[in-house]
């Protein structure tokens, strides 16, 4: 989904950096709230709430229509990419 939206926005795939968070220490150092986390220029496409702990867990996303999902809403990714291009 991310690659599709990057392509649609004209952003080269070479600009995608995938980081594997393997340990609790890695998670702490990266301020990692769970998998998957997608950041555009360092900003989370759907910033986690304060109650979401740092750690090796699954992210719980809420789609724009209210559904719970393991993935962010495609529109949130699109918007984040758009904002990133405008900066």
């Amino acid at each position: 989904m991310l690659r599709e939206e990057m392509a649609a926005a004209g952003i080269a795939e070479e600009r995608l950096r995938v980081t594997e968070i393997e340990t609790a220490e890695d998670a702490e150092q990266s301020d990692f709230p769970g998998s998957p986390t997608i950041r555009v220029d360092g900003r989370d496409v759907q910033p986690p709430g304060l109650e979401e702990p740092i750690g090796l867990t699954c992210r719980v996303y809420r789609r724009r229509d209210g559904r719970i999902s393991p993935l962010p809403d495609r529109e949130d990714i699109r918007e984040a990419l758009r904002r990133g291009r405008e900066r």
Binding site: P53, G55, T57, C58, R59, V60, R67, I68, S69, P70
Partner: protein
């Protein structure tokens, strides 16, 4: 790690676990009117389990008058995942106004291991003799509420009518159980 897990046709292993009110539930205590028993793994923080949650509760309500007993089990390591502690389970059930079935705490993870449960959710359907008749996902797509736990319902309809489910197995889809 896990035992090899159950195969279709196997008898259910023992299960005696406390719910969020401290009452212990056992598989063998089903009433003679019980036509089928559903044991499924779930938890508080997995997005797949949450996405399927209402569908599972709806199925439990819809089949309650057909003699089907539902038991939800949380086996996640609450030390590493506090959102899955017994206290958090209790708070969640309260915040949701109660569930139509018990939410059991498998603190030692022994029950998950004996069933060979892998994911949240992971659904096991037993007939009245506690023989496994279906194991897998509730339906084909966590992302589509209109699926309505159709695979689970098809299996229950078959078991209640004394037939073999046409789809006895599917791959459970979700987060892995968080082992100690």
């Amino acid at each position: 790690m896990n035992e090899p897990g159950m195969a279709i046709g196997d008898k259910a292993p023992p299960l005696a676990l406390p719910d969020t009110a401290g009452q212990v539930h056992e598989l063998g205590e089903s009433s003679p009117e019980t036509t089928a028993t559903v044991v499924y793994w779930t938890c508080n923080h997995c997005p797949y389990a949450l996405a399927w949650h209402e569908r599972m509760l709806d199925a439990a309500r819809d089949y309650s008058d057909r003699g089907v007993r539902f038991l939800a089990v949380n086996s996640n390591d609450a030390d590493r995942y506090p959102a899955d502690s017994l206290e958090a389970m209790r708070e969640r059930v309260g915040a949701e106004g109660g569930w139509p079935h018990p939410y059991l705490h498998d603190e030692s993870q022994a029950v998950a291991r004996s069933f060979g449960a892998l994911k949240t959710p992971d659904v096991f359907v037993f007939d009245s003799g506690l023989t496994l008749r279906y194991r897998g996902a509730p339906d084909a797509d966590h992302d589509d509420p209109s699926q309505g736990a159709s695979w689970l319902r098809e299996a229950l309809d078959a078991v209640i009518e004394g037939r073999e489910p046409e789809r006895p197995e599917s791959d459970p889809v979700g987060c892995s159980i968080k082992w100690r």
